[in-house]
Symmetry: C2
Amino acid sequence: MIQHVPSLEKLTHELAKLPGIGPKTAQRLAYFVLRSSQEYVDSLRQALQMVKDNIHECPECYSYTEEDELCRFCQDPHRENGVLVVVEDPADISRIESSGVFKGRYHVLHGAISPLDGIAPQDLKIPQLLHKIQSGLEGARPKITEVILALDADLEGDTTVLYLAKALREKGLQVSRIAHGVPIGGDIDYIDHRTLGRALENRVVL
Amino acid sequence: MIQHVPSLEKLTHELAKLPGIGPKTAQRLAYFVLRSSQEYVDSLRQALQMVKDNIHECPECYSYTEEDELCRFCQDPHRENGVLVVVEDPADISRIESSGVFKGRYHVLHGAISPLDGIAPQDLKIPQLLHKIQSGLEGARPKITEVILALDADLEGDTTVLYLAKALREKGLQVSRIAHGVPIGGDIDYIDHRTLGRALENRVVL
């Protein structure tokens, strides 16, 4: 589509590799970059390299961090050691943090079990989760007594919840899943029937 | 939203400056970059700088080019000099080229007249267009006898068409605008009434 300007074609091609960016959007972005200031291109290029250079996985919870070793949540001595929230992605942690409700520890699975995509428990940070819990039970580290599964409400999330609930209950832990229901401010007219069904099943006695 | 990882926050911030990329999309892209290979980040960074380093405006038609001076269309001795297609953006040229119908020259306005946004004719490459045509009439360069306006079918495009049609007709040129109508393969059921009105007005006698 681009009129034979190789640099624009190359940038369009590279941008189109980003998720959710089709060739038309990539072309629009490439033209924007062409017209934008050298300062902007410099900061964008620097920012791209910085995430590669500065960020590593926390060896404790497998979230992303720029701290020397452990992430700020794993370092924090004021957080409760006995409760663990399990999430699929590092970005989920910030969503939970902004709720302000939870003050325990985290564990990031980096995905969910999906037999259709060939993603088995050992492809995720599930062995590390079970090992962490086992070490706690054996006294080698602070004991975890409760695990809250904050996984997506889709097929893969459900599969992972079933798998983990079984494995963790066998170890004698209390396992729960975050509630599904009508979102705050949500209008019942616009809620799908599966969510409404869950909201009815999980009704809270007043 | 990002869990206090400054490099991810910075990249999200820079990506969110791109047109059509909101904070949520920017965050998803930043995580993608973090997880992608160093090779990909290298080629993306290189491509970003290349468009800034290699591309300049063609001094003849104001399109973008990597050629030494004139773009490939202005260089081409086999293209007709007498007919000029006027477009708003450089990317429009490639769309017209892929139609295979036009073999003349181009002129890029870099926008359209928009009094609401404070964009006047002199903010665009309109003085350069009129000067180019005047030079042709005076024999200082190949004469342009016909101008085809391939501008957007919106308010700004319409305003620009009115302005240019008046200015160019005064110079004795044949001025036309590309046809509006039902797209090829388009179903009349799904065409808006304004397009259909234009298609009726501009009906072609068989």
